[in-house]
Amino acid sequence: MAEPELPASQARLAVQLQQAGPIPLDADFHCEPGELLALVGPSGSGKTTLLRAIAGLYRPARGVIHCAGETWFDAEAGRSLRPQQRRVGLVFQDYALFPHLDARANVMVALDHLPAAERGRAAEQWLARVRLDGLAGRLPSELSGGQRQRVALARALARSPRVLLLDEPFSAVDQVTRRRLQRELALLREEIHIPIVLVTHDLDEAAALADRLCVLHAGRSLQQAPAEQLFRRPASPEVARLLDRHNVFTGRVAADDEGRRLQWGPWRLEVAEGLAGLRPGQRVSWYLPPSDVVLHRRGRPSRGERENPVQGQVVEMAVLGGITSVALAFDHCDDTLRFELPTHAARRNGLARGEAVGVSLLADGIHLMPDAPVTHPDR
């Protein structure tokens, strides 16, 4: 592979790692300078292992890691830079602050490249940037969880790293602190133009902070996309399940005079895109975001009712504050269709368990996932 020429793409972080065990890995992702990539997946999906591999703390069996125009790791060539040589800023899940050093000295550890006389002042400037001025003399045990996280962030940034790695950095603080720290990270991103990789199991956090998400399962990277695209267009039923998406069903491609349709039980559904590439009779998994389910109002037809109307039976209604979550069951399949609507709308329509209701499945929302193994286009 030729080294990219442009300065911007030279600073990119590119990771391709594979191994069979002890921790299985088959990951392929990249992160541009200034971009925030979130690695998401359930615990044990290899997120932290990948982060450690980037930092040089773990050595996988095969693969390459490029960053900032350098090859940090190349298993075949037997090249693996030590963590000291890679210049990564790593914020550990438990922050890993040195308990015997105060906040200033913790940051100074990462400033060995400066002349001794300048380190103290530089450390205080970094602490000021994470809004910890005045607390430089405190030991980690004298700081709150949020303050410790900031010291860890200052220490990670102090070395002018080429990539910033964040391992579940918000998991050890309360929710109010978490929101504040997340906001600060979003602001900080405007100042640092390096790739940032965030490991989290919190999908909302990933969706709020990251430009793109990389979904991992058992060490395998399944899909990389911006959150909106990922949530509307998961690459496979597996990705949909990992992203906690319901509404995954199976159907068959049907052809009639009007063109191709999706046969789902007794209904022939219109689909906006994706059917053309499939052959009639082919089995296909499909997904519909809950936002693309429209409830038919009693006695008052509304726009869009003509679009893929189906009838089901309400089997579950959960009121969560102003939102009611509804699940519909159908005779022809075991899975339920879930959608949400405002609680007042549910009341007005007299929705109740056991009632039969009609809904429209918007053709634009139906996303087809043919039952083929997921392949990476660039491999």
């Binding site: 703390l57 890993a96 040195f98 030991l139 220490r155 070395r159």
Partner: protein, 222 residues
């Protein structure tokens, strides 16, 4: 008061501590950080002097120090001296006897350092050597001090092993503890009382100074 015996005791305790601390640091850290098949066996070997009767340990040491034994023969060919009934002999015996007192507190201290502190230091750019100096050593300091205190105090009080290996040669192998025993055997109870009081005082001062050193830290884990 047997001043030469006090001098032998103090020299023995100081040299044993001085030689055992670096060895304890290396061995304790290695046992704490590495995982290998024979590790439980190594740990058992290190701990063995704790559970053996001093006379049994002393007997085996005496046997292996003899010129017929391989170890004693090698020592004799290298140095031209023998080990039994010499200061070198009781020093070597003392090193073996005190190994667990030096290694175990240091090993526990290294084990209690979270592994990611070392990794955080590497990611901050510290070499393994500087990580040891700036991060690990300050964190194991209390364990180190306790190893020093235990080794020093235990050497001062050691009796059985020293008697088996060194006998009671004035100014060479007779420690204060052995001198006290000799005095009692000779029905000189007032002499024994003075020396016992001296040993008590020296032991108390040593432990006091050492624990004072260990207590001088502001941080705690949190």
């Amino acid at each position: 008061m047997d001043w030469p015996a006090l001098s032998v005791s103090l020299r023995l305790a100081a040299l044993t501590s001085l030689l055992l601390i670096p060895l304890g640091l290396w061995l304790g850290r290695t046992l704490a950080l590495s995982r290998f098949r024979g590790k439980p066996l190594c740990e058992a070997l290190v701990a063995l002097p704790l559970v053996m009767p001093p006379t049994v340990l002393g007997f085996y040491l005496m046997q292996s120090f003899g010129q017929q034994a391989p170890f004693g023969a090698v020592w004799a060919s290298l140095t031209g001296t023998t080990l039994n009934f010499t200061f070198s002999g009781i020093l070597l015996a003392s090193l073996v006897t005190n190994l667990p007192f030096a290694v175990q507190p240091i090993q526990r201290a290294f084990e209690s350092i979270p592994p990611n502190l070392r990794e955080a230091a590497w990611c901050s750019g510290l070499s393994p050597g500087r990580t040891l100096w700036r991060i690990e050593l300050p964190l194991v300091w209390p364990g180190l001090v306790s190893a020093l205190a235990l080794t020093f105090a235990h050497t001062l009080g050691e009796f059985g092993v020293i008697l088996m290996v060194g006998g009671s040669i004035d100014g060479e192998t007779r420690t204060l503890a052995i001198a006290i025993y000799d005095r009692v055997q000779a029905f000189d109870e007032s002499g024994a009382a003075v020396m016992s009081a001296m040993l008590l005082l020296v032991s108390f001062l040593t432990i006091g100074v050492v624990y004072g050193l260990a207590g001088r830290r502001r941080w705690r884990r949190g």
